[in-house]
C-alpha cells in the first residue's frame, strides 16, 4: 500500500510554530516535525505527551542508592567487620557518615547514566544509526513539517500549506511492503 505524505519546509521557527497550530486546528495530522534546534513549545503545539524520562532517572537514582547501601553494608559490616582506625563497624548506621560520599556518588552515577541510555534507546540513537532527516537543511536553518495526505485531497492540502507560509512543498509517496 502506498502512503502519501507531504513535506512542507519553512524557513523560520515562528512561522513553523504558527503553521503547526493552524494545521492542527484544521485537523490535518502532523506525523513528524524536523527542526535544527529546540523550538520552545513546539512539542506542546504538535500535541506530544510530556516525556517521562525524568521519572525514570529518579527511579534509577533509587536503584543506585540501594546498591551503594547494600554493597557497603555487606562489605564493611557483614563480610569483614574489621577495626580500621577505630571506626565502629558494628552496625551500618554507626559508620554511616563515612559511607555517605559513595552513597551519593552512586546515586548520581546510576541516575545519570541509566537515564542517558534510556534516552538513546527510546530515541533510537546509537553510533551506526543512519540519520533519518529527509532534508539535509533541517539541521542547519530549515524546518520541515510532515503531514499525512492519505485521506485528503492533495491539491487542497498543498494550497493550505502554501498559505501557512511553507516555502517548499513536496509530495512523498512511500511504497511499503506488507
Amino acid at each position: 500500500m502506498a502512503s502519501k505524505k507531504i513535506h512542507a519546509i519553512y524557513t523560520d521557527d515562528d512561522l513553523l510554530m504558527q503553521a503547526v497550530k493552524q494545521t492542527r486546528a484544521t485537523n490535518y495530522h502532523i506525523s513528524e516535525v524536523f527542526t535544527p534546534f529546540p523550538v520552545h513549545g513546539l512539542d506542546h503545539a504538535v500535541g506530544l505527551a510530556p516525556t517521562r524520562i525524568a521519572i525514570t532517572s529518579f527511579l534509577y537514582g533509587l536503584v543506585g542508592l540501594s546498591f551503594a547501601v547494600w554493597m557497603m553494608n555487606y562489605i564493611m559490616i557483614e563480610d569483614w567487620p574489621q577495626n580500621i582506625g577505630g571506626k565502629p563497624s558494628f552496625t551500618f548506621y554507626q559508620n554511616m557518615p563515612a559511607f555517605i560520599p559513595i552513597m551519593f556518588e552512586l546515586t548520581v552515577f546510576f541516575a545519570a547514566h541509566l537515564m542517558v541510555i534510556t534516552f538513546y534507546m527510546r530515541s533510537k540513537l546509537w553510533p551506526f544509526k543512519k540519520a533519518e532527516n529527509p532534508d539535509l537543511r533541517t539541521t542547519d536553518d530549515h524546518f520541515l513539517m510532515e503531514v499525512e495526505a492519505d485521506n485528503h485531497d492533495v491539491e487542497i492540502l498543498t494550497k493550505f500549506l502554501y498559505d501557512t507560509g511553507a516555502s517548499e512543498i513536496s509530495l512523498i509517496e512511500n511504497e511499503q511492503d506488507h
Binding site: Q22, E32, F34, I75, F109, D163
Partner: protein, 599 residues
C-alpha cells in the same frame, strides 16, 4: 506568536547580522576548513611536552617514586598539588553547562561546549596522578571492590582516597555523556554540511543518527535539564570529596571544616580563569568574536570576582581560626604567621598576591572588559591557585607536630617534567578538539538568536517589542490568517539579499568611469590569464546579483575585495547606489581576507 522579548537593558550576546545559517557556517568553519600554521606550531610544542611528560611517567613507574623529590615527611607534593589543580580547573566546565543552565543564563551557550571540553581534558590529566603517584600502580585495580580469589578481600570504604576513585570516575563519565549528548545535534549539522565523504562517515557515526525530530528535542531538553540537576550537586561533591583527602586528616592546617566549600569556590575560581585563558585565544583563532563577546568575558570575570571573594573570606577565616584556636601547632599551618615568615614565605606571598590582590582589579569595569588584562589576570590566578594547593599540601606537611620530622621539599626534574607533560597533553587534546568538534553549541545559540542577537535587538528597538521575528521586516506573513502568504516577501532574511533589486542590475559605465578606474587602482585588477576567479557569493552579504555587478566592475577575487577600505566602500556605494553602507557593515574586506587564506 512568541515575542522573543528581552529587556532592552541586556546587551546582545550574538553580534553582527547573523541568521541561523550564518551560525552554522561560522561554527562549522574550523571543522570543515584546514588548520593554519600557528595551529601546527602550537600543536607540535604541546605534543613534545606531552611526550616528554610521558617519558617522565614511564621513568617514574619503572624506576620508583624515589625519582621524585618526596621525602619521609613530605609524602605528597607536586603529584597531589597537580591532581587537585587539574580537578579544580575542570569544575568551571560543569558549572557553566549545569549550574548556569539551571539559572537559565543565556550567555552560557557560547562558552559551554569548550568549557565542558576543558573539564573532560582536565579531569583526564587529574586522573593520571592518582595512578602514577602509587608505588605499585600495576595493582591500582585493587581499589575496586571486585570479588576475588583472596576470600573476596574488599576495599575499605572509610578512606577519602577511595571516595576520590568513585567521585572522579563518576564525574568524568557523567560529564562525558552530558557533553556528548549536547554534541549530537551539532555533529549532525557538520554531517549534513560537509562535502567530504570521509567526514560524512565520521560525523554520521559521531552524531548517532540524530535527525532533530520534535520528540527527540523534547527528550533532549529534559535529559539536559535532569543531567544539569544531577551535575550540579555532583560538581559540588567532587571537589568536596577531594578536599576530604586533607580535611579528614589530623594534620594541623589540613584538619579544617571550611575545606569543602572553600575548595569548591577555589575550583570554580581557577576553572573560570582557565576558561578565560582558553577562550580569549580561541575566539581570535577561530573567528568567533561575534559569539564569545566582551560581554561573555565580563560575565566570567564577575564569576571570578565572586568566587575569588569567597576564597578570600575563607583565607581570612583560616587565618583567624589558626590564631583563635590557641593550638600551638596551628602556627605553622599554611595560613598563619609561621607560614608567612617561614621558609616557604615566597609560596605564601605568591598565593596572597595572585589570588587576593590581583583579581581585585576586576572590580574596575574598564579592566573587567579589557581582554588583554583579563588574559593576564587569568594566567596569574592559575598560577596562584597552583600555589594554594602547593601551600596547603607542602607547607602543612613540612612543619608538623614533631620538630624532629621537619623537612623541606625540593622537586626534581621528573616532578616538573610530569607536570609539563600533563599541560602538553591537555593542549594536545584541546587543540585536536578545536579542529574537529563544533566548538560552540550552535543548536543552543540558535535558540537565543531572536531574543539576544544584536540585529534582532535593533529591529525590536525600531519596530517595538511585539514585532514579528519571522525573518522579514515588512510583514507578519500568516498572522492575519493562513491566506496572508505574500509571494517572495516572507521567506527572505532581512540581512541577506533583501535589497538586491533584479531590475536594476546593470552598472552605468559611462557615468562612473572615473570612479571605477579609481576603485580598481586601489584594489588591483583581475587578470584572467594568471588568476582564477573566486566564488564571491561566499562573502556574507554578496548574493548572485551583487556578484554579477562586482564582476561587471572587474572584481573577481577575494584578494581584490580584501584590499577594500572605507574609501573603496564609499566608491562602491556611489557606483552601485542601491544599498549603501552594506559592504562596510558586513566587513567584506575582513571576510574576504579569511576566505582568501582558507584557499
Amino acid at each position: 506568536m512568541s515575542s522573543h522579548y528581552e529587556a532592552p537593558i541586556r546587551e546582545p550576546l550574538v553580534l553582527g547580522d547573523k541568521s541561523y545559517h550564518d551560525i552554522s557556517v561560522d561554527v562549522g568553519a574550523p571543522v570543515l576548513g584546514k588548520a593554519n600554521k600557528s595551529w601546527w606550531i602550537v600543536f607540535t610544542i604541546s605534543l613534545i611536552a606531552f611526550l616528554w611528560g610521558l617519558g617522565c611517567i614511564i621513568y617514574t613507574v619503572s624506576t620508583g617514586i624515589g625519582v621524585w623529590g618526596l621525602n619521609k615527611t613530605i609524602g605528597w607534593a607536586w603529584d597531589i598539588t597537580n591532581f587537585v589543580w587539574w580537578v579544580g580547573i575542570g569544575h568551571a566546565g560543569t558549572l557553566i553547562s549545569a549550574v548556569l543552565l539551571l539559572f537559565r543564563q543565556k550567555w552560557r551557550m557560547a562558552v559551554n561546549r569548550s568549557a565542558e571540553a576543558m573539564t573532560i581534558f582536565a579531569v583526564v590529566q587529574a586522573g593520571l596522578f592518582p595512578i602514577i603517584h602509587m608505588g605499585r600502580p600495576w595493582l591500582a585495580y585493587w581499589v575496586l571492590p571486585i570479588p576475588n580469589q583472596f576470600g573476596s578481600l574488599w576495599v575499605n570504604f572509610n578512606s577519602p582516597l577511595l571516595w576520590d576513585v568513585f567521585a572522579i570516575s563518576t564525574y568524568l563519565s557523567v560529564s562525558l555523556v552530558f557533553w556528548w549528548t549536547g554534541l549530537l545535534p551539532d555533529f549532525a549539522m557538520i554531517r549534513d554540511r560537509t562535502n567530504s565523504p570521509f567526514q560524512k562517515k565520521i560525523y554520521s557515526i559521531l552524531s548517532f543518527g540524530w535527525s532533530g525530530r520534535v520528540k527527540d528535542w523534547q527528550r533532549f531538553e529534559e535529559v539536559s535539564l535532569v543531567l544539569a540537576g544531577l551535575a550540579t550537586p555532583l560538581v559540588l561533591s567532587v571537589h568536596t570529596i577531594v578536599s576530604f583527602d586533607f580535611a579528614t586528616s589530623v594534620v594541623p592546617g589540613w584538619h579544617s571544616t571550611i575545606y569543602p566549600p572553600y575548595f569548591v569556590a577555589g575550583a570554580i575560581f581557577s576553572g573560570f580563569a582557565m576558561v578565560q585563558t582558553l577562550l580569549i585565544i580561541m575566539r581570535k583563532v577561530s573567528n568567533l568574536e561575534d559569539y564569545i563577546t566582551v560581554l561573555h568575558i565580563e560575565y566570567m570575570n564577575k564569576v571570578i570576582l565572586l568566587t575569588g571573594g569567597i576564597v578570600t573570606v575563607a583565607y581570612l577565616i583560616e587565618y583567624f581560626i589558626a590564631w583563635y584556636s590557641g593550638v600551638p601547632y596551628e602556627n605553622y599551618a599554611y595560613l598563619s604567621f609561621g607560614a608567612a615568615t617561614g621558609p616557604y614565605w615566597w609560596a605564601f606571598w605568591a598565593l596572597i598576591i595572585c589570588n587576593l590582590i590581583v583579581p581585585l582589579s576586576l572590580w574596575v569595569k574598564k579592566l573587567r572588559r579589557n581582554i588583554v588584562w583579563t588574559f593576564i589576570v587569568a594566567l596569574i590566578i592559575n598560577i596562584g591557585m597552583w600555589f594554594e594547593r602547593f601551600d596547603i599540601i607542602v607547607v602543612d606537611l613540612s612543619k608538623d607536630r614533631l620538630t624532629s620530622s621537619w623537612a623541606m621539599f625540593q622537586p626534581t626534574f621528573v616532578d616538573i617534567g610530569t607536570f609539563m607533560g600533563t599541560i602538553g597533553f591537555f593542549f594536545v587534546l584541546f587543540l585536536l578538539y578545536a579542529r574537529t568538534f563544533p566548538v560552540i553549541a550552535q543548536a543552543e545559540v540558535k535558540t537565543i538568536l531572536k531574543s539576544s542577537g544584536a540585529s534582532f535587538k535593533r529591529l525590536r528597538a525600531v519596530h517595538g517589542d511585539d514585532h514579528s521575528h519571522v525573518q522579514t521586516v515588512e510583514e507578519y506573513p500568516a498572522d492575519a490568517g493562513p491566506a496572508a502568504n505574500i509571494l517572495d516577501k516572507n521567506f527572505e532574511s532581512p540581512f541577506n539579499s533583501s535589497s538586491e533589486d533584479v531590475e536594476k542590475n546593470s552598472v552605468d559605465f559611462e557615468k562612473d568611469k572615473g570612479k571605477i578606474d579609481d576603485l580598481l587602482n586601489a584594489i588591483g585588477t583581475f587578470n584572467p590569464d594568471t588568476e582564477t576567479q573566486d566564488d564571491l557569493k561566499k562573502i556574507n552579504g554578496v548574493g548572485p546579483v551583487m556578484e554579477q555587478k562586482l564582476h561587471q566592475l572587474g572584481i573577481f577575487t577575494f584578494d581584490q575585495v580584501s584590499r577594500m577600505t572605507d574609501r573603496e566602500y564609499d566608491l562602491l556605494d556611489e557606483i552601485i547606489s542601491e544599498f549603501p553602507g552594506r559592504a562596510k557593515r558586513d566587513d567584506w574586506a575582513g571576510q574576504a581576507l579569511i576566505l582568501k587564506n582558507k584557499n
